[in-house]
Amino acid sequence: MPKQTVPILKQEEKVFQNLEGQDDWSLAGYKKRGGYKGLKKLLTTDRIKHIEKMKESALRGRGGAGFPTGMKWSFMPDPAKTGKPSYLVCNADEGEPGTCKDRDILRYDPHTLVEGMIIGCYTLAAKTGYIYVRGEYYDESSRLQQAINEAYEAGFLGKNIQGTGVDVDIHVHLGAGAYICGEETALLESLEGKKGQPRLKPPFPAGYGLYGCPTTINNVETIAQVPPILKNKLEWWTQHGRPNNHGTKIFSISGSVNRPINVEAPMSIPLKELIETYAEGVIGGWKNLQAVIPGGSSTPMLNKGEAGKVLMDFDGLREYGTGLGTAAVIVMNQDVDVLRVMTRISAFYKHESCGQCTPCREGVGWVYTLMKRLSNGEGTVEELEQLQKLTKKIEGHTICAFADGAMWPVQGTLRCFKDEFERRIEAKEEVA
């Protein structure tokens, strides 16, 4: 039985009050926690007001890119003017290594998402919402479907919700296991039944998305955070975190920690505090720390010194040349062969590249072979330079951000552990 965590957030300050699954996930449980209260009022308030409030809340997308949600929503045209339906698509294709937050939302607190979808659809004037769930989350998607069924029965979904005249239907769609389908336009392609490959942008989904209609795609966590933001006073949300980084966030902490955990915590919390409070510290103590990947496998790693200083929010991590990403904190202590970990991550990206555009298709595999060789000390010091240059030939030259995400961790490794590469290369040379 793990020790009870010291709560930084009070229960009523949390969006996900059942994230650890200690309570009832079903409609009854969710209602007891205050869910669906005030829904009717939200569905009768002018939807433009909602968008305004989302903008004020400065909620930034929780899927990785951190784009302001209110702004994204304001891009959606009025269906009355376009003559086309609008769609809200929820991206539940959680595939970033280290990230497992959406999974717990889906299985322990699915109604937060359902309620978010209802309000989200209303706010965007969409009558239909899709939730694209990662194929491996089969059980979770069943749980979600059960929650949706409950909501239909209770009159929270379907035609004329709670007598407000608002219609919303939600469909769950299971993916087939490709990481790239978490990229929003690839997700749309996949949802349309095509091969999951990112689309060229522009046009952006807000103008030409699912089936060619205006579409907004948001992460599970983002959508689930909408109802409490709209229901509560603005301060309820902005009391946490720094300006432009407000609110709370689920952090998935894994790796060399005493207690790997998924936890909702305030934004802008110092990384060290996050690890020590919730994950009960690094195995072997902070001094035993080697490096931390702060936001899922595609964010560049931080070394021990940086990890001790950084604040966990979008802007704080940007200062250190990395990013909040999905806030999946992967901790590596001195027992970990970092180069091997990073080579494995490269292998992951090689495997998941969709192969559509040249730099990614040809480059990510090349980077992987170089990583594999160099991390074993096979190669030359000059090749380290080449590897660095190669990542620059790939980064920023592709259709989607996948290749950037595949290159950043490599660049991060070269920045933090160049001497380790060199040591291994020299050791091999000496043997030979």
Partner: protein
């Protein structure tokens, strides 16, 4: 529409260009007469943006943009010469070449390879790639295309062509990332009749021309502009030849006709030009065809004509001749031999030269896209004129309604089947059929009547009713001509223009065949193969065969005269639109073979009544005298409207199609002589068998 002004910065300095709203950065660069390297972009395909070769720096943008799809903006400054641009190109090129085998010396694309050219122009002279290269299994996709898939750069042009233009979803990419492979999903022969275009589209040597493999290098070839004759479209082609031998045939660009596509029958049948040819005159001696010289053959003909009444002589012409040849044959029969028993309508079509409007397409091919409703009658454009079908498909894709009266066939797009016999036309005309209303409402309705309809016993009545329908729905107005008769043979329009049919009560094809079967004729001049079963040409008459191949029909002749194929003569060919186009001779006729009109001219002199022209110029003048449009090749002249056909009773027998999937690759004597085409037909039949068994 507003215009956008952009600045293009290149080595030559800064240039301001103005492009319309909606243009891409690449359009702007082209407007500035600058080059931008690219692979996946192709002006007739959708934009894929996947090769990333066209990256350029737009000032102020955080990263280089793919110019092929990036929208141009007012005030944009595009730098083609900046470090960002140059590095992006070099980087992409290095990555493209990383896994490319660089086997140019043994690659057929060498010398005309976009990757080769652009690597020289925009790449770097060395690579840092030290790893093992990827190798990909080649795919066996039939007799037309050879694959070396290790060379593929995944530009997806082939895939986009197959899906978007050819309309067959046969090609696609399987696998992901570096393991992506392009090919037919299940390894099998391509079924498309346009597959060869993928060879031209493939920027590298991944898809190459299979029968051409390792036979020539592009720089050894001489080029001659010509016109294809495998169907009636009049595709612009380039005949590539070396040392007097045709090595391959490729399309030329022509927006008005074939855009830049070409049917496979046109592309892959060139081997027939040197297979099983008639190369020397022959006469039958002791029951056996024996080679001889021209004088001896002519002697024999002269003898056989001695004391033969002119109504005992007849002439039949096939469908693969140009206007000059038809004219000369016709004149030879009618003026030298004084017989009116001449016909070039081997299928017994009911139209003749008196009404030009009755046997051509009135809508120019390029105007097809303007139509807003289409009715097909007894035709399968996919097999009768594949490139017309490409245009129709494009139209349907844009949402234009299309319906068919006739046999149900796979046209690569969906259409509404209204019925299979002519009586449906009446329902349409009086709007009993719902499609009638659609046609009524359409501003530019299009009717396409297959040429096989003209061979029905009730042909005139059907033609009349279709034409009346066209008039009724507004398909024949001052601004819009939507009535079309689709000929499927390259020579037919010219044959009719030259009036190669009885004009003074002589026997028509049917009559001639009947007379033959009753042994009532003494001499038959057969000019090329006729589309009737060989037995129907069997008789006691002396048969003189003038043609290019030793076909089954040629083998029953008593005298054979070797003529020139379409690549071996300068000739005027008239396409389905009635457009006269000149094909140039690429090579000499083989050995003793001669240009056709010269044969008739010489023979007429031998018989003492020389035809009144001594050279091609005089011959062309004679043609112009009877048909003025031949004075201006390439021009389209809209024919006077005269309602064709004759009112009468239409039967309810279904329309039939002469060309089917089962014989598409074998529909004329050249195709039948081509090994490649025979192989293609066999593949189709094989696939059918498998499908039926399943």
């Amino acid at each position: 529409m507003t215009n956008l002004t952009l600045t293009i910065i290149s080595k030559q300095g800064e240039v301001e260009v103005i492009v319309p709203q909606g243009a891409t950065v690449m359009d702007a660069i082209k407007a500035a007469e600058q080059q931008v390297p690219h692979f996946c972009y192709h002006k007739r395909l959708s934009i894929a943006g996947n090769c990333r070769m066209c990256l350029v720096e737009v000032e102020g943008a955080p990263k280089p943009v793919a110019s092929c799809h990036w929208p141009a903006n007012d005030g944009m400054r595009v730098n083609l010469d900046s470090e960002t641009t140059i590095n992006a190109r070099k980087g992409t090129m290095e990555l493209l070449l990383a896994n490319h085998p660089l086997d140019c010396p043994i690659c057929d694309q060498g010398g005309e390879c976009e990757l080769q050219d652009q690597a020289v122009a925009f790449g770097s002279d060395r690579s840092q790639f030290q790893e093992m290269k990827r190798a990909v299994d080649d795919k066996e996709i039939g007799a037309k295309i050879k694959t070396v898939m290790t060379r593929c750069i995944h530009c997806m042009r082939c895939v986009r062509f197959a899906t978007e233009i050819a309309g067959v979803e046969e090609f696609g990419a399987t696998g992901r990332g570096v393991d992506t492979q392009v090919g037919t999903y299940v390894e099998e022969a391509l079924q498309s009749e346009l597959a060869g275009n993928m060879i031209d589209l493939c920027p590298v040597g991944a898809l190459t021309n299979k029968p051409y493999a390792f036979t020539a290098r592009p720089w050894e070839l001489q080029h001659t502009d010509s016109i294809d004759v495998m169907d009636g479209v009049g595709t612009h082609i380039r005949v590539d030849h070396r040392a007097g031998k045709v090595m391959r045939i490729v399309p030329r660009e022509c927006d008005a006709i074939n855009e830049e596509w070409m049917s496979d029958t046109a592309r892959f049948s060139w081997d027939a030009l040197s297979t099983n040819r008639l190369t020397t005159p022959m006469v039958r001696k002791n029951g056996k065809l024996t080679a001889c010289g021209w004088p001896e053959a002519f002697k024999k003909i002269e003898q056989s004509l001695k004391k033969v009444g002119r109504d005992k002589i007849a002439g039949l012409a096939g469908d693969l001749h140009c206007a000059e040849d038809y004219y000369a044959f016709n004149a030879f029969m009618k003026e030298t031999l004084k017989t009116d028993n001449v016909d070039a309508r081997g299928d017994g079509a009911c139209v003749d030269s008196t009404n030009h409007a009755a046997y051509i397409m009135h809508t120019p091919l390029a105007d097809i896209e303007k139509a807003d409703a289409v009715l097909l009658i007894g035709t399968n454009p996919r097999h009768e004129a594949p490139l017309l079908n490409v245009r129709l498909r494009c139209l349907v894709q844009s949402g234009i309604p299309i319906a068919m009266v006739g046999e149900e066939v796979d046209l690569t797009y969906k259409y509404k089947l209204l019925g299979d016999n002519p009586q449906v036309l009446e329902d349409i005309a009086n709007s009993k059929n719902s499609f009638g209303k659609i046609l009524q409402k359409a501003e530019k309705p299009l009717i396409i009547l297959g040429s096989n309809v003209l061979t029905r016993p009730d042909a005139k009545a059907v033609l009349f009713s279709a034409a009346s329908l066209a008039e009724g729905i507004g398909a024949v107005t001052e601004n819009w001509r939507g009535f079309n008769v689709l000929q499927r043979m390259a020579g037919r329009v010219a044959a009719l223009d030259m009036a190669v049919h009885p004009v003074a009560g002589g026997l028509e094809t049917k009559g001639i065949l009947k007379a033959l079967s009753e042994n009532k004729l003494d001499v038959l001049f057969q000019y090329g193969d006729i589309e009737v079963p060989c037995e129907m040409l069997q008789s006691t008459a002396t048969k003189i065969y003038i043609g290019i191949h030793l076909t089954e029909q040629a083998q029953t002749a008593d005298v054979m005269l070797p003529a020139a194929a379409y690549t071996e003569k300068n000739g005027l060919w008239t396409n389905i639109e009635g457009r006269v186009q000149e094909a140039k001779a690429a090579v000499q006729p083989p050995l003793q073979a001669k240009e056709d009109w010269k044969i008739f001219r010489a023979l007429s002199a031998e018989l003492g009544k020389p035809l009144p022209f001594n050279n091609q110029a005089q011959l062309r003048q004679a043609i112009v005298d009877i048909c003025a449009i031949y004075n201006e090749p390439n021009m389209l002249v809209q024919p006077e409207w005269e309602r064709p056909g004759k009112a009468g009773k239409m039967k309810d027998t279904p329309f039939t199609l002469p060309v089917t999937v089962e014989n598409y690759y074998q529909t004329n004597e050249i195709l039948r002589a081509s090994n490649t085409m025979v192989a293609c037909q066999a593949e189709i039949l094989e696939k059918r068998k498998v499908e039926e068994a399943a």
